[in-house]
């Protein structure tokens, strides 16, 4: 298939793998930031094909995984109200809250709808004037423009019954948090290509300089990842540390200006709690005061909800690259996609779910990739 197969070519993959191996004079640890990258790496077996000297660890870039438990519990409380239609992206449905999840709320009679776009939620609000329609606005900078647009449109139309429960996160502060953690072992990043498509690459330059770390935004096909790893390794071996764009077919230094303008006309930067990691300064977006009429946090009595996290889930360590899913005793036993203990087991972008889906809880006898 055009524009896909070119990025899945076995010969080029082998050449890149040889090139990476040829560069190595010591061991390196590279973090792929985005869950989409994790998915590709595990799906194609890239981590098992890499030479021993380079290790990929999985980053915090899964929006489902890092949405704080408190927000999940708030979403569940709102979704249980009789006059509410609660709208969510599909993979938030099974994220475990303290007691239950949205899927079970729906089964118990709550009006919970899976939508593909916040604009679908706006349509529902127009069609159901007697209901309060609440959209669960989660995600990184990639979903922020459309979510911002929905809030902006609701204000334009003077809608009284459309609200957003906002839990938005930003990538650059999370990279700082990973790098400044006392036990950090990450030496280079594969930055999230689609986040950079919106935001550009300039905001990563100070990070590369300050922490002396190579940052390479990549695409999501196997050759994108391999080429990204090759570029990070080349920089590390040469002692370089700069932003180097692998995903030039989509990402520009300035990003999408129109999308950025829409984001910052509706949202402002705030401190944000990341599930499993904790509060990271300036790492989130919240609605500006102009949009308070559409802020579910103000419209619903949810401030007093106190969450309690399962003590058996180590997703915080996994999201920061300190551990891999295989290190967790619950992985594949107590914790499966059918019964997730933590959010990293829910979304297909979550490291644990990706590992589970691609059979990493089962250890085949011949684990090494076959040559030729």
């Amino acid at each position: 298939m055009k524009y896909i197969d070119e990025y899945r070519d076995e010969k080029i993959a082998r050449t890149l793998l040889q090139q990476i191996a040829g560069r190595l004079t010591r061991e390196w640890v590279v973090m792929e930031v985005c869950g989409g990258q994790t998915h590709t790496i595990v799906k194609y077996g890239i981590d098992r094909m890499l030479p021993e000297g380079v290790r990929v660890v999985h980053g915090p870039g899964c929006p489902v995984c890092v949405t704080p438990l408190e927000k999940i519990d708030q979403a569940i409380a709102i979704a249980q109200l009789r006059d509410v239609i609660f709208c969510s992206f599909g993979d938030m449905m099974r994220v475990p809250g303290s007691e239950t999840d949205l899927h079970r709320v729906k089964a118990g009679g709550g009006d919970v709808r899976v939508v593909y776009s916040p604009l679908d939620a706006l349509t529902l609000a127009r069609e159901n004037p007697a209901k309060r329609v609440v959209f669960f606005a989660v995600g990184f900078e990639t979903t922020a423009p459309a979510n911002a647009f929905a809030a902006w449109q609701a204000r334009q139309e003077g809608m009284q019954n459309f609200f957003m429960l906002v839990s938005h996160v930003r990538v650059p502060p999370a990279l700082s948090a990973v790098l400044t953690a006392p036990d950090n072992r990450v030496q280079g990043f594969l930055a999230a290509g689609h986040v950079c498509a919106v935001m550009g690459t300039r905001e990563y330059e100070p990070l590369a300089e300050q922490y002396h770390v190579p940052i390479v935004p990549t695409g999501f096909e196997p050759l994108d990842l391999l080429e990204g790893i090759d570029r990070v390794v080349r920089q590390l071996e040469a002692g370089e540390a700069r932003v180097e764009n692998q995903y030039t077919r989509v990402v520009t230094p300035d990003g999408n200006r129109a999308a950025q303008e829409r984001i910052f006309s509706v949202f402002e930067i705030c401190d944000q709690t990341w599930r499993g990691i904790g509060e990271i300064p300036a790492s989130g977006f919240r609605l500006k005061n102009d949009f308070a009429a559409h802020d579910a946090a103000a419209a619903f009595d949810i401030a007093a909800i106190a969450p309690s996290e399962s003590s058996r889930c180590m997703s915080g360590d996994i999201l920061q690259g300190r551990k891999t899913p295989a290190d967790c005793p619950a992985f594949g036993n107590e914790c499966t996609p059918g019964n997730p203990l933590g959010a990293t087991m829910v979304s297909s972008e979550g490291a644990c779910a990706a590992f589970y889906h691609f059979g990493r809880h089962e250890k085949p006898a011949s684990e090494t990739p076959r040559e030729g």
């Binding site: 993959a13 194609y44 094909m49 196997p222 996609p337 059918g338 089962e362 085949p364 006898a365």
Partner: protein, 352 residues
């Protein structure tokens, strides 16, 4: 337009609405039920066994062994590109018999209709069942109809059961795969699931995706005609190719290795899966089968299969191995290896 029906003194207290829609009375067992039978079902499936309208059909046992199966169909939407719930209900049961190595003979059909279903819809569904029976060489010999209140069904639910005949020495079964056997796939994967999804979610593609719903009697017949060493046959419906291969690997206590690059798939289906983040290995098929064949017969079987209109894009996709018993290992397009699992949870809700 459905034919005009003369309602006499109604057996049910119904407003005189004609038969533009299915009414609760159509499931009452009274006059309307009989009308439905005489005007919709009987003309389509008329044969000496059904005509008797007994509670059961007595049919001659035509083989040395009888195969018997049943399946329910609850597809949403009822009509989709390449078929509808009617053709699906016939093909599904016919194929369940055919993959046992049996020649499908007689079918039953039980309908659960929702009050308010347009009669024209029911007639279209019945007509496509009629065509599917003809194409599959089976007779629908017994049936039942119930009607439920509006809102308590989803238009039409259909359950079909079927019997087929097979030679006594034919032993095709999920636990008979042996190391060295080759794995044949009769054609491209994912067509049905993606066709359904594109209609249900209103996703439009440049090319129209069509369900592969079809009776597999003929292509399976061709394979069986050239090989006495077909060990397993399975149609990868819900759960897709990966779930079917996992069932075979587990039941036979063998490993299975497949090559991603050899699995036939239409570019439209691949594109849709890329777009929607789905793995086509888990998407449902309704007109494909997997054959596990002894290595010495594999080329012959593949050639025979490709001679059938439904097997033209058939391919040898992998083999049965001793390593990793119970597991299916896929060699990815770039040469990496991963375990392919059973579908965990629903990838697409309610395909069929």
């Amino acid at each position: 337009m459905p034919p005009k029906v003369n309602h006499g003194a109604g057996a049910c207290p119904l407003p005189h609405t004609g038969t533009e829609t299915v009414l609760l009375g159509h499931g009452s067992g009274g006059r309307l039920s009989e009308e439905l039978l005489r005007e919709v079902f009987l003309p389509a499936f008329k044969n000496p066994y059904l005509e008797k309208l007994n509670d059961q059909a007595i049919v001659p046992a035509a083989g040395e062994s009888l195969a018997f199966t049943t399946d329910s169909f609850v597809v949403d939407p009822l009509f989709f590109p390449g078929g509808d719930i009617g053709s699906l209900a016939i093909h599904g049961t016919v194929n369940d018999l055919a993959v046992g190595g049996a020649r499908p003979l007689y079918l039953s059909a039980a309908f659960i209709l929702e009050e308010g279903l347009p009669m024209a819809h029911l007639k279209t569904i019945v007509a496509s069942m009629q065509a599917a029976c003809l194409a599959s060489g089976v007779a629908l010999v017994t049936g039942d109809t119930k009607v439920v209140d509006r809102g308590k069904g989803d238009g039409v639910f259909i359950t079909t059961s079927g019997v087929g005949a097979l030679k006594k020495n034919r032993a095709i079964s999920v636990e008979r795969a042996r190391p060295g056997d080759k794995i044949l796939l009769s054609g491209s994967i994912g067509d049905h699931g993606i066709a359904i999804l594109s209609v249900r979610e209103g996703i439009e593609f440049e090319t129209r995706l069509t369900s592969d719903s079809a009776p597999l009697v003929s292509p399976i017949g061709r394979v069986l005609a050239v090989s006495d060493h077909v060990h397993c046959l399975r149609d990868p419906t819900r759960g897709g190719v990966s779930s079917t291969l996992n069932e075979i690997a587990r039941a036979s206590g063998v490993g299975i290795e497949i090559d991603e690059g050899r699995i036939p798939i239409h570019p439209e289906v691949r594109g849709a899966c890329e777009l929607l983040g789905l793995d086509p290995l888990y998407v449902a098929n309704e007109g494909k089968f997997i054959a596990v064949v002894a290595a010495e017969d594999a080329d012959r079987a593949l050639e025979a299969l490709m001679g059938d209109p439904l097997g033209r894009s058939a391919a040898l996709i992998g083999e049965v191995v001793e390593d990793n018993p119970g597991r299916v290992v896929l060699r990815s397009r770039i040469g990496g290896r991963r375990v392919v699992q059973m579908l965990a949870g629903e990838q697409l809700p309610r395909i069929c």
